[in-house]
Amino acid sequence: MSGLIKSSIARKVAMALSGLFLVFFLLQHFTINLTSIISPETFNELSHFMGTNPLVQFALQPVLIFGVVFHFIMGFILEIKNRNARAVKYAKYSGGANSSWMSRNMILSGLVILAFLGLHFYDFWIPEMVHKYVEFAPEDPARYYPELLEKFESHVRTILYVISFVFLALHLWHGFASSFQSVGFNNKFSVGATKFAKAFAIVIPLGFIIVSIVLHLNHVLNN
């Protein structure tokens, strides 16, 4: 089994599985976010549940954080190993002739997403942890929507979120479909699975963009 952990194929599968796990998380995150522009009450209820349920807080949340950290660290390790595999670069390299920009620049889109996560944690996760586990502030089930709305008052923050979601789409465009190949799934169903993954890569980030813009417009239209 030690050979399995060190092998290139095992690392590739680990990247794929952690990525697939994060894809499922994105879908769940988006579903809750979407309720914020349809029914703030539902958004509050779901956020209150996610924010106070012990299973979510003390079991799923650590697993999610592990998944995110693992995906990034493994991504960096593979990037360094891959760069070392070609010590002398080509004077002329025509990557565009045989592969997509997205597939060749996963580290770039990944770094933008990592930077975004820093902002996102600063905006939501850290204040939430401080609120609950440092200040032990009394729980108000109706606080989530106003807190969310407040964050999207800034033009700059909204633009940063939109740019980040574009890079998320670029990352998912290659990453989601590619994960099937990594786990050994390449058969007559692959064409359909790839189409689904590519559609997901557009629809979900676009949905996040729409939610961000609608929340921001709440401020623009009310002022």
Binding site: S7, S8, A10, K12, N82, K92, S178, Q181, N187
Partner: protein, 248 residues
Amino acid sequence: MNLTLKIWRQKDAQSKGKIVEYPISGIEGDMSFLEMLDVLNEELITKGEEPVVFDHDCREGICGACSLQINGEPHGPDRLVTTCQLHMRKFNDGDTIFIEPFRAKAFPVVKDLMVDRSSFDRIQHAGGYVSVNTSGNTIDANAIPINKDNADDAFAAATCIGCGACVAACKNASAMLFTAAKVSQYALLPQGQVEATDRVMAMVNQMDEEGFGNCTNTGACEIECPKGISLENIARMNREYLSASLKG
């Protein structure tokens, strides 16, 4: 056709190489790329200069000896051909053509455009074979019933000529397409089943030890492969490897 060639020149494995520019004229569209290099070398020899060293053998696309990264693509801009099958009609009068060796840590440059691809041989030696008793009672392979789809896929995998274009094209210098083709050609056949577990483990471990990069599914290898080896083989190798690992 008048061309400007920018060719990687490197005295030996230890020396530092550089791109050297060579103007060349009188090139016909019907010449192969290697014939164009032959013309250049004749000119260099006539001038008393060192000819450009490059690998070649059969010159009909079946041996896998020729290589060359031409204008940033292994075997040049054409598809499903090796460099020896690439015609100069694919280029235009006045073009500048970059000619470099296949680049990978596991393919060290020997001289100029010639690289040492023995890392592929070592991967093959690690498990790319079927042990057959040849002491007089060998069973004729044709006597063993084989599913037609599997036979076709195994044959397609076996068309890999081990040229290294997959490594050269991959941004990570990964050898997964080559190794996967060699694993697949046996994994699909009944004769290959007995040693299947050991084979995939040994070949993948050897591939990793040689210093090739990791596959990130860009698909560049499949596009540039002169034999059209499919990415399906890599998925099959991944399955074979995971299954073998879990068996211990």
